[in-house]
Symmetry: C2
Subunit: 152 residues, 2 copies
């Protein structure tokens, strides 16, 4: 490895830029830059627990709790106690939450479009592949992604 900063620097820069961009774009909807990702998981599979959301998004359960609380307060989702496990909640989208999908996707797409605007289609594919391959290494050795982890 020549200079690890060549990897970490750009990643930090991209992350912070994405956060700032999404915060600005979603400000009018009162959806924070750290919250919209939770909605995306629910678009794929409604009714999961906060713990599952945390695992899928690779954040702490503290972060999951805060994001869900905020989105619930703004009316994008609601929670119901799990019938079979009274510790857990099941998190569901409201109509308002479902309607946000297009908006968020549009904003996020426009950010990524800018980011990859000089990439050839092949480079985009490779980049997507490699960034995923790298992030996989960060999970705990015995990590098993929940069954609803795929965004397909």
């Amino acid at each position: 490895m020549e200079d690890p900063r060549e990897i970490c620097g750009p990643i930090a820069h991209i992350y912070r830029s994405q956060l700032a961009y999404m915060a600005k774009e979603l400000e009018a909807y009162r959806v924070g830059s750290g919250q919209f990702e939770f909605l995306f998981v629910l678009y794929h599979r409604d009714g999961v627990s906060q713990e599952s959301l945390a695992k899928i998004l690779a954040v702490s359960k503290a972060t999951s709790t805060r994001a869900i609380q905020s989105l619930e307060k703004e009316g994008y989702l609601y929670r119901q106690r799990d019938e079979n496990d009274h510790r857990a909640y099941r998190v569901y989208l409201t109509e308002k939450g479902k309607e946000m999908r297009g908006v968020i996707l549009e904003k996020l797409n426009s950010f990524v479009d800018t980011l990859l605007s000089d990439f050839t289609p092949e480079e985009k594919t490779i980049f997507r592949l490699l960034i995923h391959k790298a992030s996989i290494k960060l999970f705990d050795p015995g990590f098993e992604p929940p069954s609803d982890c795929r965004m397909t």
Copy 2:
């Protein structure tokens, strides 16, 4: 673009993991995970201004101020008013600061090694290239990196 989350998700995950890892590894030295990068710039070019540090690292000048203050308090660097411009400081490494280079490099290397442990040498090169190409797009259109921006 199929799913922009395939780009943003992993980047966020890597960034947060790097922050947590470096915080833990550098805790004993009382160097924060958001501070060691400033030392690296100084290793390459000692005596630059806080504003230059901010530009080079693509952070706000508020962040630059805070990092420099913390590193000064811990004795890793010191500041002198610029003779020709009494608004600006020139930031210099102390002996203690210079001695940290090896330590930080080692930690950061071990993080990146884990991250890229499944990459072939070619993939590492490509990844480095593409991540840089992407981050370049985030600077303001007229952005001109300071002359001391290269880490070579």
